[in-house]
Each structure stands twice: as structure tokens, then as C-alpha cells.
């Protein structure tokens, strides 16, 4: 087992038995389910909307070269500098060099999961900059030195009491016990930071090829402030974020809001097509867009799972996943948690190290059902399993299944063995999951049903004898 897999199983086991944690997550998601269904019901046809959204992303992903070139030309035409980064190091090095050249000391960052993926914050701190996360949830987990728990709700695992303790310790704030008071503490801290920052960093939810805009979705206003006030702005954009047309946003923005946070529309949806233009009185003087590959092209090359690049990072698949709800976001040990994380992490970071995530699934299909762009998530989990075994077969699986098949094809042997199993059942129950149980890996976490008093064949024979 890989170290990632060992850590995953240890953390998952601990959290599955943590009833307080489970209660917190259920409470946090309870309201989401009700509101999401209310919002979906307002659509003329949610299923047709999903089909149309999938079609827009299909067009983009399957002509990625064309749309990225168009996006770059349009952005450059209005003075944006576009940098193409093959991997995380290239992106982080470039952004650090932009900061260094401009003499940047203080950076204000709005939420970017792509930034988390390449550990951008740490790289810039190493380069001597102060980096402050401005999204409230991200700010809280940054103070606690934790990774985000959920791609959309980074601090959903914390109570107000824990957040208050963090604020008292790290910010020296007065005790507060309502979400409102706590939010205002963060607001006041952050207001200063926006005004002082020399550089803003953002991610992007979409990038419009047709007009050369990046699109940022948020509720708090932190991204608008981070992308407006500092004189220098860098946006980190995964190459799969590109969409062909501006009008695609007319569908995708409401759907992202509904699937992601059960909203009609997210509070701020901002299109940025360049730095301050002639005639404008504010906005950044310099704007850099970094287009990041970081093995997205490896996922693109797997045609069977290419639609995983349709993902708009709404988090809907996490919210409905029975695995996520039980083991929590941190157990995954990945930037992207939940079903989408289990599908793409093996492509981004290595199949053998991360295949365990694809095996840790009930294959119930709730994720595929929830996905607003119709990614076939649960089948991709099966394909990851198949690919992992084909690449590195488990030596004992074939002989075991061959033996099972041999046995099952011999009715006489089966008839002879079935009653023996009934006699042996108490022994199996006694040793189940213990050290001398050879199948303890499997039986340790599963119930062995009691042996029935008679087999179906015996029952059938008796029933006919009576007549």
C-alpha cells in the first residue's frame, strides 16, 4: 500500500467513527439539499440545462488548443500578459518573479483551488511576501494552518466556538459567539489588507475565449476587492477553464450557483478582460494571466475520461457523496476532495499512489446524478480501478477467481460443501476480523450474515415432496 493509501485508511477510519464530525457535516449540508431542490425546481428544465451545459464544455475541451489561442490573443490585445505554465513549479516561479520584479511585500489572495493545487501561497511566502487569504473560510483555515476541507466550503468542519478560539489566539480579537460577530472581525482585519496590498491573486471559474475575459464567481466581494485595489494582479487559470462564447456564461453562471451553493445566482460574478483601460480611473495597472497545465493534458489524453475536464468545481458531487459525508474532506489528502477528486487525482498525481480513492466508493452514482455538466463520475471510478489493476495486477486475485469458477461449475461439489459451511459458520463468526482470519481485510469491516437453516434447493425439494 502507498503511504497516501495508509494515511487515507487511517484518517477515514478515525473520522467515520467520529459522531460529532458526522453531525456537523450533516447539519451543514441539510439546508443545502432543501434549498438546492427549491432552486432546481424553478428551472424550466434542469435536465435539459445540464445537457446544454455539458455540450458547451464538450466543445471547449475537445477544441482546447483553438480556444486557448483565441483567449490569449484577446487578452493580450487589451494589455494582459499571458504566461503558459507546463507545471506547478513553472507557474509559481513565474508569479514569484512578477512579485519580485515589482518589489511586492504584501499579497491579498482570493480563493483559488488551482493555487492550492500548486501550493502557490507557500511558494510566495518563501519568496518573502506576506500572503493573506481573503475568502472568509480560506482565511480561517489559513490561520489554523489547515488545508481547505471542501473545494467550495473550506471551513465547513468547524464550529463557531473553534473559529472564535482561532481568532482570539491568532488575531487577539475579543470573544465573539455569533457567526455575524466573527465575520465582522475578519471584515475589519481584511479591509486594511486590501488597501495595503501591492499585489492581488485570484483564480478563475471560467475564461471566455470569444471576448478574452476571465470570470470569477464569489459571494463575499473579496475577489472583487482583491482584483481591483492592488496595482498588480495575477490570475491563475487551469487550461480546462476556457469556454468558447460569452453567452455560455448565461447558462453556466446560474447553474454553478444552483449546483454549488443552492443559489439562484452567486452574489458577484465578475468578468475581467484587462488591466485599467484608457478612460478608467481605477483597477490594476498590470494584469497577468497564468494558464496552467500541470498534467491536465494527461487527463485530456485519456479520451475515455476526458469529460472529467468539463468540471466547473461546483462541489455538488462532494455534497451528495456518502463517502465524503462520512470520512470528511481532509481524509482524502488531496486538493480536490470527493468523487471528482477521486477521479482526477490519479491522473494529476499518479495512478498507483492514488488508486485507493477510486476503490473507496459505494458506486451509488449520486455524484453523476448531481453533476451539472453530466460527468460520468462513478463509471470513471470503475475505469480507474480497471486501469490500476491492468497496470499492476494483484498476483493472488486471478488464481482465487479461477478456483471459485472451478468450484461453482461443479454442482456435486457445491451440494457436498454447502452443509459443511453451515457447520463451520459458528467458527467463521468467532474468528471474523481477528488475527487468524485469513480474509480479515475484507471481513473486518463487514457483517457475515447468519447461515440459513436450509438452502434454496433443499427448500424447493421439500416443497415439491409435500404436494
Amino acid at each position: 500500500m502507498s503511504t497516501e493509501s495508509l494515511q487515507f485508511h487511517r484518517d477515514a477510519d478515525r473520522l467515520t467513527h467520529d459522531l460529532r464530525h458526522r453531525g456537523l457535516i450533516q447539519k451543514a449540508l441539510g439546508g443545502y439539499y432543501t434549498k438546492r431542490d427549491e432552486q432546481k425546481a424553478k428551472y424550466t428544465d434542469w435536465q435539459m440545462a445540464r445537457i446544454s451545459a455539458a455540450a458547451a464544455k464538450f466543445e471547449a475541451v475537445n477544441h482546447l488548443d483553438k480556444y486557448l489561442v483565441e483567449l490569449t490573443e484577446k487578452l493580450e490585445a487589451r494589455g494582459t500578459k499571458v504566461f503558459w505554465a507546463a507545471d506547478g513549479n513553472e507557474a509559481a516561479d513565474y508569479i514569484a518573479s512578477v512579485a519580485r520584479n515589482a518589489g511586492v511585500k504584501r499579497i491579498i489572495k482570493s480563493k483559488t483551488m488551482t493555487g492550492e493545487e500548486i501550493h502557490l501561497g507557500q511558494a510566495l511566502e518563501k519568496a518573502g511576501c506576506e500572503v493573506v487569504e481573503s475568502d472568509l473560510g480560506e482565511f480561517i483555515v489559513q490561520l489554523r494552518e489547515e488545508p481547505p476541507y471542501h473545494i467550495v466550503f473550506p471551513s465547513m468542519h468547524l464550529t463557531r466556538g473553534e473559529i472564535n478560539a482561532t481568532f482570539e489566539k491568532k488575531l487577539g480579537s475579543a470573544p465573539a459567539d455569533t457567526p455575524e460577530e466573527l465575520t465582522m472581525i475578519a471584515r475589519n482585519v481584511m479591509r486594511q489588507k486590501y488597501c495595503e496590498a501591492d499585489m492581488g491573486i485570484s483564480g478563475a471559474n471560467f475564461a471566455v475565449a470569444e471576448t478574452g475575459h476571465i470570470s470569477i464567481t464569489e459571494n463575499e466581494g473579496n475577489a472583487r476587492l482583491s482584483t481591483t485595489l492592488p496595482k498588480l494582479l495575477v490570475s491563475l487559470v487551469g487550461i480546462e477553464k476556457v469556454i468558447p462564447k460569452l453567452d455560455d456564461l448565461a447558462l453556466l453562471l446560474p447553474m454553478l450557483a444552483t449546483a454549488g451553493a443552492a443559489q439562484n445566482m452567486t452574489c458577484y460574478n465578475t468578468l475581467l478582460g484587462g488591466p485599467r483601460q484608457p478612460g478608467e480611473t481605477d483597477g490594476p495597472q498590470e494584469f497577468h494571466v497564468v494558464l496552467l497545465d500541470n498534467r491536465r493534458t494527461a487527463l485530456l489524453a485519456d479520451a475515455e475520461q476526458r469529460d472529467a475536464l468539463h468540471c466547473i468545481r461546483c462541489g455538488a458531487c462532494l455534497n451528495v457523496c456518502p463517502i465524503f459525508k462520512n470520512i470528511g474532506g481532509h481524509s482524502y489528502g488531496t486538493t480536490y476532495q470527493g468523487p471528482i477528486g477521486s477521479v482526477i487525482t490519479p491522473h494529476l498525481r499518479g495512478l498507483q499512489s492514488w488508486k485507493h480513492l477510486s476503490f473507496s466508493s459505494s458506486l451509488c452514482g449520486a455524484c453523476s446524478e448531481a453533476c451539472p455538466v453530466k460527468i460520468d463520475l462513478h463509471h470513471h471510478l470503475l475505469q480507474n480501478r480497471r486501469n490500476a489493476i491492468a497496470q499492476k495486477p494483484v498476483w493472488w486475485e486471478k488464481p482465487i477467481f479461477a478456483g471459485f469458477a472451478w468450484f461453482m461449475r461443479r454442482p456435486a461439489l457445491y451440494r457436498f460443501a454447502a452443509p459443511l459451511l453451515r457447520i463451520g459458520a459458528p467458527v467463521l463468526h468467532a474468528i471474523r476480523g481477528k488475527i487468524f482470519d485469513p480474509a480479515r481485510m475484507w471481513t473486518g469491516t463487514r457483517d457475515l450474515p447468519p447461515a440459513p437453516p436450509q438452502s434454496f434447493k433443499e427448500y424447493w425439494r421439500k416443497r415439491h415432496a409435500k404436494r
Binding site: 451543514a28 434542469w46 435536465q47 435539459m48 440545462a49 445537457i51 455539458a54 464538450f58 488548443d65 486557448l68 503558459w84 507546463a86 513553472e90 516561479d93 518573479s97 481573503s134 472568509l136 473560510g137 480561517i140 466550503f153 473550506p154 465547513m156 463557531r160 455575524e180 465575520t183 465582522m184 475578519a186 471576448t211 475575459h213 459571494n219 463575499e220 466581494g221 476587492l225 485595489l229 453567452d247 455560455d248 456564461l249 448565461a250 453562471l253 439562484n264 445566482m265 452574489c267 458577484y268 460574478n269 465578475t270 468578468l271 475581467l272 478582460g273 484587462g274 483601460q277 480611473t281 481605477d282 483597477g283 494558464l291 497545465d293 493534458t297 485530456l300 489524453a301 476526458r306 468539463h310
Partner: protein, 225 residues
């Protein structure tokens, strides 16, 4: 400066796309019905102007955006004066726009006009930002702003109370209509466009809604007939 990997990435993409995606990735068995725009599947929007105003008001109420109706320019001035009294404004920020400028000046409060250039810290200290907008969106209860229509990029997000003055004729159906409006009125889509849908909000602490996370705590639309 590190060197750019554009050619390398484009080569990888073209190699990958040499293998076609399976047909099931497109619409999974169904296909978007012919003769329909993708936005047809979104929540329905009435075609009549009154119906759209009603939908905008309903969405605004859900979002906790205040909507006040003004019959004419004089009513705008009196509504602004009322807002200033109710919220005890001491200074405001605004910009030059036809629906609002004279009403803002008639308030008798210190005003920063962002389109004449401004200090960030001074704008931050203002009690309200009063701006125009490019259009209003009935389907979402949203307000589309551009730098030209709303006094720059910061005026609509930095002060703690944002007041938008718009005419009823600026109300459009959905986001696609808003984009069409931009195309008609500009040579190219402006470099800054933002949809504001309600006052700033967060649910990051126990998923409980709090208004005024970083942007305005209050949002008021003055709808001029």
C-alpha cells in the same frame, strides 16, 4: 523571468485530441432540442415589462436587496435624502451619471466623485457608494455594472452601502440579454463587467448567512419610472 511553455502545452493538447472523445461525453444519450437556446431551460422570465419588474422585485426580496420606486428625478432626490437620514450617512461617493448626479449633489453631504480620481482610503471611509449600472437582470435579481456605467471598479463594492439608480427601461430578461445589451452599446465587451446579485454575503461559519462579508452590507435599487 521563466520561459513560457506555450508550444509544449499546445503540442500536448493536439497529441491528446488526436484520439476522439467517446460520443457519450456529449449529452449522454440526449441532445439539446433543436430550435432552443440553452437559456430556455433556465427559470422562466415574463415578457411584459410589468411582469419583469415583479420578478426583479421578488428576487431582490429573496436576496435582501431593497427596491424603491421613484416616479421622477425629484423622487430620486427625496429617496436619497431619506436613505441618508435613515442610515446616518456622513459622506458618500458617486460618479457623474445622468440619473443620479444632481440628486447626489442636492444631498448636501461631502461627495467623492470616483471618475475624477480618488484615494482608496478615502473611498473606504465613505458611508455609501451611489452609482448607475449597465442594466438590471430580472431572472436573477442582478445588477450588471461596468467601469463606465458605475463609476469604476471599486465604487460598487468598497463602501458599506451600495445604492444603484436605474430606470425601468434598463431591466432585461436574463444574462444573455444583458450581454446583448453590452454588444449593442459598446464596440467590444468592456474590460470590467460584474453582476451584483444582492448584498455581499457569506455562509462560511456553520453555513449561516451573514450579510456584508467584505463588500456592501446593504444594497438598495432606486427604480425610476
Amino acid at each position: 523571468m521563466p520561459s513560457d511553455s506555450r508550444d509544449k502545452i499546445l503540442r500536448r493538447i493536439r497529441e491528446a485530441l488526436a484520439v476522439k472523445a467517446p460520443a457519450c461525453h456529449l449529452a449522454h444519450g440526449g441532445s439539446p432540442a433543436a430550435g432552443h437556446a440553452p437559456t430556455d431551460w433556465l427559470p422562466p422570465v415574463p415578457t411584459s415589462p410589468d411582469g419583469r419588474v415583479a420578478l426583479f422585485e421578488k428576487n431582490s426580496a429573496d436576496l435582501k436587496t431593497g427596491v424603491r420606486h421613484c416616479a421622477d428625478a425629484a423622487a430620486v432626490a427625496s429617496e436619497l435624502a431619506a436613505l441618508a437620514r435613515e442610515n446616518a450617512w456622513k459622506s458618500v461617493a458617486s460618479h457623474n451619471f445622468s440619473l443620479g448626479s444632481s440628486a447626489v449633489q442636492s444631498m448636501g453631504l461631502p461627495v467623492i466623485f470616483t471618475d475624477r480620481g480618488y484615494e482608496t482610503s478615502a473611498l473606504e471611509r465613505c458611508d455609501a457608494g451611489i452609482s448607475g449600472c449597465a442594466c438590471l437582470v430580472a431572472q436573477t435579481g442582478g445588477i450588471m455594472v461596468t467601469a463606465a456605467s458605475a463609476g469604476g471598479r471599486a465604487l460598487s463594492v468598497l463602501p458599506p452601502h451600495h445604492v444603484v439608480i436605474a430606470s425601468r427601461s434598463q431591466l432585461v430578461g436574463n444574462l444573455a440579454d444583458a450581454f446583448a445589451h453590452l454588444r449593442e452599446s459598446h464596440k467590444e465587451i468592456p474590460a470590467f463587467v460584474s453582476f451584483i446579485t444582492g448584498p455581499s454575503r457569506t455562509g462560511d461559519i456553520e453555513r449561516i448567512l451573514v450579510l456584508g462579508a467584505h463588500g456592501p452590507k446593504k444594497l438598495t435599487v432606486l427604480l425610476v419610472a
